[in-house]
Symmetry: C2
Subunit: 421 residues, 2 copies
Amino acid sequence: MTESVLDYMTRLGRAAREASRVLARTSTAQKNRALEAAAATLDDAREALAAANAQDLAAGRAGGLDEAMLDRLALTPARIDEMIEGLRQVARLPDPVGEIRDMRYMPSGIQVGKMRVPLGVIGIVYESRPNVTIDAASLCLKSGNATILRGGSEAIHSNQAIARCIRLGLAEAGLPAAAVQVVETTDRAAVGALIGMPEFVDVIVPRGGKGLIERISREAKVPVIKHLDGICHVYIDSAADLDKAIRVADNAKTQRFAPCNTMETLLVHAAIAARALPPLGEIYRAKGVELRGCPRSRELLGPGTLEASEEDWSSEYNAPILSVRVVDSLDEAIAHINRYGSHHTDAIVTESFTDVRRFLAEVDSSSVMVNASTRFADGFEYGLGAEIGISTDKLHARGPVGLEGLTSEKYVVFGDGHVRG
Amino acid sequence: MTESVLDYMTRLGRAAREASRVLARTSTAQKNRALEAAAATLDDAREALAAANAQDLAAGRAGGLDEAMLDRLALTPARIDEMIEGLRQVARLPDPVGEIRDMRYMPSGIQVGKMRVPLGVIGIVYESRPNVTIDAASLCLKSGNATILRGGSEAIHSNQAIARCIRLGLAEAGLPAAAVQVVETTDRAAVGALIGMPEFVDVIVPRGGKGLIERISREAKVPVIKHLDGICHVYIDSAADLDKAIRVADNAKTQRFAPCNTMETLLVHAAIAARALPPLGEIYRAKGVELRGCPRSRELLGPGTLEASEEDWSSEYNAPILSVRVVDSLDEAIAHINRYGSHHTDAIVTESFTDVRRFLAEVDSSSVMVNASTRFADGFEYGLGAEIGISTDKLHARGPVGLEGLTSEKYVVFGDGHVRG
């Protein structure tokens, strides 16, 4: 490129802002047509996608990427199927844009309500997985937003190949090409430019490791929808049903170890610990989970349980490791969760109505659960249809972010020549 | 103080965070008791308030504050009445905290919905008006948030006197004193500390001039609910009812000149300009409004109309000045508003259903109005009961911010021992 990265990104930003004006008035049918057309184009482009991906994989191998990174980068036929199905699923979701609610007459005679509208332009910064290009573009498009996508440099050829399919889909539906733009330079300055132009970009969604998210949050001049740690808890209350407790505490840790909604610390009320912890200790050991307990839980969890350090209570292991603590009251459990947790997802197992009410009101997390595994914290499980991430922020979107989280509401006022007296 | 400003503010922050845990589980009745008790205490403390305010006014006069500043600073008996009535009004508002909505069964069998909860700790930074101390504290308290208030140094004695009344109210209701804290130092470093501790403060609401808001937005490490410019438009469509058009265009400009929701630019469709502009020109001239028009509007507005410069279209006058432009289409009007406006409040006057639909969907502003004066953009007029400000942001709260804007929603999940398969 002869133009500077900043000029290039400014050009993308200006085009995205213009496209966002068009998208704000685009019908649901037209947006769906673009999504369906992009799906069909992806299906036709399997060979081109595989070839582009092979280039990235070869470069990654030569550049010394590890196996986990290469796996994330690979566009297997099954992953292409998933991208195609993802586009079609998003096309089937109800369109939140234009929804008007709560129109009410005021004493002055005006009628006031709220209307759901797109945010405008959304910047997505992500790492190696090329399928994020489709996930993010489809949710943003369906919610009427223009998108600028900046993927990892190791996936540049795959992302460009996917971008071509999206562009064909947009063209087939008569939508501007700038509705979805994939940044074509791998220069890192592009990220700095993207997160530094509030006049063209309304919000940034970083998807990737904690380092990426923290860096972007620190440097962005544009609001950021963050997804930081998932230090999730299950608390087995004194009034818990033992079977439910064991089922939930098992599943929350062992169904998968890596996700952010996996339990990292188990809290158990002293009154039920002697019945709950020995069988749980056996289950965890059988599934290869390393246990780190407080002194009281170590006695009950059985052989091989390590001593938990203060650091364990605020650790997100993303691994087969679990810290366990016996507490003497619901108060102590809630205090532990609010102090050491990451305000992501926390569950209580109990039959006590009063304890449920307190747990819901006092645990300061984006998802609070009763008698259910923390693993349910997910846009699909919550009926959002899809998610662009799980927000650990309190403002705007909190928890799994679907189409609605990519929109905003404006006030609508109807009158009949009304003036203020 | 022997401790540093940073240590002092950290102490306030930590205490506020602890108090916010208590407030999150405080009943509506108890919060209302505190508000009513503070109102009664203010009523009893009129002499002390007047004495404290006299100190500030004397210092202000000695320090060369202008009359407008001194006026804003004055706690007249009428303003004390308003503060007392404000507290009682907020006590009467419905409590948004704890509201649970949309609990629905999912295919997995879990039940998912959302619950409204306080944001946590809110920092308010404001300038000379001491009544903001009561407005902000009461709204934050009612919505279950702890507050740290940092008023202007010129109002320090008045604010401390008001703070004593609030503390007595809190004590009478058995609530922690740290639920509402007024910063006692006038050191400017206190603001820097307040906006720089995301571990203790969840959101900052700056109330004051554009300079204050821009500085805080730039420097804050905590999310900011901003209220920037109000460059509001009325667009008289070709299908407008002439009487309604004149009534609305008159009121939107002349009911009051200073507020942010006052019209700054009038747009008129060419097909109706010859009928609308001559009578409006007379009205505005009679009310002392300086007119600055495009060439076509100057011919119709009559003698004394100045030529509008490019700069006029993006000026917030807050004064008896109006810029006027004739446009050839609804498209041109919408494009003008989105380009030059501040996304605050914009109105169309029309009888055309189709033009209404387009204006609502395409004008990117926090309030879009039809056949009503922009002056209605206000928390009281919208039925919010009170407002802490008008947000020009798109994320989280947009437009007038009342109790609901000071809360957030978390997901609630109910199961019966459900696990993920």
